[in-house]
């Protein structure tokens, strides 16, 4: 459990780079600091995402089976 919690804290601190938007105390004017800019079509981050996508098994959805839920 301790190992798992440490990992969760680690990924949390590494992952969440975007500045938080506070829906209560800091209402901003429309469009002010409220989101990412238009995505760049060529950037290192896009390349990283593409690498992650290319690793996905093309047959993954075909193999994925669930029971009907609610």
């Amino acid at each position: 459990m301790e190992h798992a919690m440490k990992f969760v804290q680690l990924i949390g601190s590494l992952d969440r780079k975007e500045r938080p938007v506070d829906p209560i105390s800091k209402p901003s004017g429309p469009g002010e600091d409220s989101g990412p800019k238009r995505p760049e079509t060529d950037s290192p981050s896009r390349d990283n995402l593409m690498k992650r996508m290319k690793k996905v098994d093309p047959k993954q959805a075909e193999k994925y089976r669930q029971r009907t839920g609610e």
């Binding site: 459990m1 190992h3 798992a4 919690m5 990992f7 969760v8 804290q9 990924i11 949390g12 601190s13 590494l14 992952d15 969440r16 780079k17 975007e18 500045r19 938080p20 938007v21 506070d22 829906p23 209560i24 105390s25 209402p27 004017g29 429309p30 469009g31 409220s34 989101g35 990412p36 800019k37 238009r38 995505p39 079509t41 981050s45 896009r46 990283n48 995402l49 593409m50 992650r52 996508m53 290319k54 690793k55 996905v56 098994d57 093309p58 047959k59 993954q60 959805a61 075909e62 193999k63 994925y64 089976r65 669930q66 029971r67 009907t68 839920g69 609610e70």
Partner: protein, 507 residues
């Protein structure tokens, strides 16, 4: 009419074992839930508050469409070496959430929240808790073989839900509630859809090709129904208030998608809460939709948002314009706009404008826009068509909560996802319920007197006492003042008996 704000999200996760094709889904879901426990599982959930056959329209159905299937599952389950309670593995966590095995899906029901900031933090806390459970389960299995998906379909025609729930005064006439909210719900996917490649039909497979706004629209079959697994409705009529029945309803919405973007979750819950406030103020839309089920599917199937649907009074309207109509009316109808409502209205208007003018501004904020952008980039890079089966796999992987694999997780790593919660909020939500709702009290009971709990559910807690059980009734603890009094008694007491006695004296 003033209304108490209280809402929560129930999310059924998809679960896969990658090292075997013969895993038993009941056992996998059960073991996953139990992996989160430090000790042995003891069943304490009290099922007496559940009434899935009661209908808000004032009657009780004798059977649900899923009853036959449930009976079949029960027959299969009877051959497993586990009791019903063992298979459900129903847990109440120290943050007041419920975590259990529902129909072979690990389900996380957030604690009841009063604010958008809290509900977003608790929805994210649910993902983290599921991920902790998966890691612990994988340690036992000896590899990273259990994967969890916060989505709503298996791309073979099997859907599972993400339900959002709202406490509503029963004084609001149910017909008025339906009329007031139905067009909003039909079009809510424009701002809250998680996006999906291809099309599906209930248990009749998957047709590749194209992209739609919603994971669930294909599975909506009727306007109103008490059913949840078959004949799914846009507005579920189950009458299970989990509060004083004479005073409250619970609006149980099953049409929504499981969202990855925090901003989408905030808008989904926030705008729905605003529309309920409008209805409480007497709002009636200026139009009805001629065919809501056809409309929800038609709107979903057009990510360019040009499709118009028929109004009962004549003429047509697009999903985006329905949303615009609601936000404009909200500005007129609502008399008391607090800071949170102001934020919701402002962001709602902004999103509608950006969807019309430049949807790519919403990458990292709105799920379906984000997923479409990712897939479109991939289609261009790989030179494949939209009917390539690889895209369904990528769609699935968008929802994988494994931080090293999930595509949305990848966006977060790259700093492209807008956060509503700070990391500290999520960490806190994993441990404690909201301070201002009864969920925080429930969680505190688990933290302080867990060993003494005999049974527990949304409406109250029974403790073992020397002369029978002691009951903490949570039905009446809906207002923050009442919650604060009860919390003070809970924190000061050394035993459940002392707490109950203290509350009795306060009364």
């Amino acid at each position: 009419m003033s209304s108490i704000r209280l809402f929560g999200i129930e999310t059924e996760y998809g679960i896969a074992r990658e090292d075997t094709e013969t895993a038993d889904p009941v056992v996998e879901s059960m073991e996953l839930v139990r992996a989160y426990l430090d000790g042995h599982f003891t069943c304490r959930w009290d099922y007496r508050g559940e009434h899935p056959h009661e209908d808000q329209r004032g009657f009780r159905v004798t059977e649900l469409a899923q009853d036959k299937e449930e009976d079949l599952f029960a027959e299969q389950d009877a051959h497993r070496p586990f009791s019903f309670h063992e298979m459900k593995s129903d847990l109440v966590l120290p943050n007041g959430a419920r975590f259990y095995n529902d129909h072979t899906h690990p389900e996380y029901s957030t604690p009841e929240c009063r604010t958008i900031k809290d509900i977003v933090a608790h929805d994210r806390a649910g993902e983290r808790i599921l991920w902790v459970a998966a890691q612990r389960r994988n340690e036992v299995l000896g590899g990273r073989v259990v994967q969890l998906y916060k989505n709503n379909t298996d791309f073979h025609g099997h859907s599972y839900g993400c339900h959002d729930n709202y406490l509503v005064p029963r004084a609001i006439n149910f017909d008025n509630l339906v009329r007031g909210i139905l067009p909003f719900l039909v079009s809510r996917q424009v701002i809250a859809g998680a996006g999906k490649v291809g099309r599906e039909a209930q248990e009749r497979g998957f047709t590749p090709g194209g992209f739609q706004l919603s994971q669930r629209a294909d599975f909506m079959e009727t306007e109103l129904s008490v059913d949840t697994m078959h004949n799914r409705p846009i507005l579920n009529t189950r009458d299970e208030p989990h509060a004083t029945r004479e005073r409250y309803r619970r609006l149980h919405l099953i049409l929504g998608d499981a969202n990855m973007c925090e901003y989408t979750t905030a808008l989904k819950i926030g705008t729905t809460r605003v529309v309920l406030d409008m209805i409480a103020e007497g709002f009636v839309p200026s139009f009805d939709l001629a065919s809501p089920v056809a409309a929800i599917q038609a709107i979903s199937q057009d990510p360019d948002l040009k499709t118009v649907v028929k109004r009962q009074e004549g003429g047509t309207i697009s999903g985006l314009d329905i949303q615009r109509e609601y936000v404009e009316q909200a500005r007129r109808v609502l008399t008391n706009i607090d800071e949170e409502t102001q934020w919701i209205l402002q962001e709602w208007e902004l999103v509608i404008d950006q969807l019309q003018k430049d949807p790519l501004q919403l990458v990292g904020k709105i799920d379906w826009v984000t997923k479409r952008w990712l897939l479109e980039s991939f289609v261009q890079d790989e030179g494949i068509g939209w009917d390539d089966p690889w895209l369904a796999s990528l769609d699935l992987e968008y929802h994988n909560i494994d931080p090293e694999r999930g595509l949305f997780c990848g966006l977060e790593v790259e700093g492209r996802a807008t956060s509503i919660s700070q990391e500290d909020d999520i960490q806190e939500a994993m441990k404690n319920g909201p301070l201002d709702t009864r969920a925080g009290l429930r969680g505190l009971c688990v933290q302080r007197f867990g060993e003494d709990i005999n049974s527990i559910q949304w409406e109250g807690v029974h403790f073992n006492g020397k002369n029978g059980t002691l009951h903490l009734d949570l039905l009446d603890h809906l207002e923050p003042v009442s919650v604060a009094h009860c919390r003070a008694a809970l924190e000061a007491a050394k035993t459940p008996l002392e707490m109950i006695n203290s509350l009795a004296i306060q009364k």
